[in-house]
Amino acid sequence: MDYRFESPADVRTRLRSVDYLSDEAIAGVVFLADRLGKPILVEGPAGTGKTQLAKSVAEVIGARLIRLQCYEGLDESKALYEWNYKKQLLRIQAERNNESTWEDIETDIFSDEFLLTRPLLEAIRATEPVVLLIDEVDRVEIETEALLLEVLSDYQVSIPELGTMEARQVPMVFLTSNNTRELSEALKRRCLFLHIDYPEMDREKEIVLTKVPELTENLADQIARIVRSIRQLELKKAPSVSETLDWARTLLLLGVDSITEAEAIETLNILLKYQSDIARATRELQGDGGARKPGVPRTS
């Protein structure tokens, strides 16, 4: 079997070429997933680039991205396959006048022609390289998870009327989860686990510079620092990378070249989405947050 990547470093450089800045953990796990032919379960706070990782990998290896968006109430007919029963009914009615036997009709109506493929089956049957993204897998009920297991471990789908369909090539599979509930052991066992957290300050600065190239280095540095400070507070929802980027773009539009306290506070609503969080961050940035350690002499 040909591998898609040569080394973790190769993963990193190639992801960088499509403007996705990975770190060692991400590159290592993507590389291993390729080598071991295993799905990756990506977990982490919202807005840290979990879905984007799948998209970027697809772009890098020149594969088609097949996406299954999970939601409560997702079932077999939406995830795997469905028989096109309307067409089947028509077929039976059309056959009524002919002399054909029931066996003929039966083999006929349960054939490929009447099968509607859904994302999972589509990924299995694809002949060209594909990346399968199962988004927000924690939204489906725990019973529905079982649907995924056969696909994830053996890359095959069993259809009672047709038999087992095996994958023609092992697709790369990404599952993302926002961790709203614990996934089943069976699912976790089949996957490699990757936790993507908020990036370190240096990486965040790089991300900001890559995505908003018009920024000056100095401003990007300031942005990353302020965001890091805000993340250290106890907030309902810490600012995510995508919010950092929004903020950077805002500051660019406002023509700011060095962030002062007032500007930071005025634009906080881009970073934070709860009034209580904004109030708290404002208090902290103005320097009278009581939560910090006292005892530092203030000279000004």
């Binding site: 060692e24 796990v29 409560e72 509930r181 996957c191 400070s229 002062t260 103005q286 000004s300």
Partner: protein, 414 residues
Amino acid sequence: MTTAERADSHMLDLLSGFIIELRNAGLPVSLTENLDAMEAITHIPIEDRDAFKYALAATLVKNNSHWRAFETVFEVYFSLRGREYSIGGSGDLPEIDEDDQPNVLPDTGGAGAGGAGEAMSPEQMAEALFQALRRGDDALMKAIARQAVTRFAGMEPGRPVGGTYYLYRTLRNLDLDNILDRLLQQAQDDAPAPLTQFEERLERDEFETRIDKLKKEIEAEIRRRLVADRGVEAMAKTLRKPLPEDIDFMHANREELVGLRKAIYPLTRKLAVRLARKRRHGRKGPLDFRNTVRHSLAYGGVPAEPKFRYPRPAKPEIFVIADISGSVAAFARFTLQLVYAISGQFSRVRSFVFIDGIDEVTRFFEGVEDISVAIHRVNTEADVVWVDGHSDYGTPSRCSGIGTAGKSDRRPPF
């Protein structure tokens, strides 16, 4: 087991010991995951320590809150080994890199150069540390961490002490709080204009991050030496970090409590989702007549497929009665936090706290976004001490008309 054959046998021994230790620490590592890990490392160049670590993590750790426990075990089992980490070998540290040293101490004339830091006086060392932190010089920070451990930790071979004791001794001697103050002062002096509080705040966060890094480095250094001295198995047991779910509430230290608080937040979200699902589960809302008739058109007017409205079961009310006396205060806090985090799941939350008197504290939580503020008010303002301030479980059950002693004119809860 072809994959196992490929891995060399020493590695295999180490790995199985590693996995057994992970299980001892409470991580659920299954046999398949074990095999996956074995296969994974055959694809990874063994000299790349980080890649190796992430390969093991990706196959063995399936829950982010277990990461810390994993990391500790990893550091013990795959610690850097060598003569320079032995406890006794302080005199011949070849590692304090010669090329780092010459420009370390511009002010003091490079006294530390070449002499492996042995000649450095405590003042010079503090100065070197100050400079390293000021410039964020990682290599120098590492060297200093190593020096500091050699010099201050007072480690003795074979002594059965955990790492915390040595860490405490080292940190006490380095006096990092003082250095932080100096760093801030220096930043003030260096700035062209006086720093605003906002800028000062950013500077301080930066320095604190660096100091944290230094502390981690010192901790790692102590661990490496302990492992070199007392062997992997003994240390793995001593250094084992409990998983967040295994922490004993009554004996948790401050750091662990902070960890717990962080763990609670996603927990409440999970609980809320589950509660909502459970209450909806298996129920259908009332029949949606219009929708049914509309769909019956497809079947020639026969209502073959009844449609139902989205189920909206009524939410329960909840009363929390919490003992907030000293012995269980931490737990009461946890309960109140949990209940208020999922308060959206209840139609009404009323809370009472008691020690030997009882008081309703719902009002403290109303309109307060920040739960810790509310809890602080509960602790300071609630009127709960009646006689002697020792828990009396009789009072709350007797006063079932809670708060009736002229304190509340609300409808009693029971």
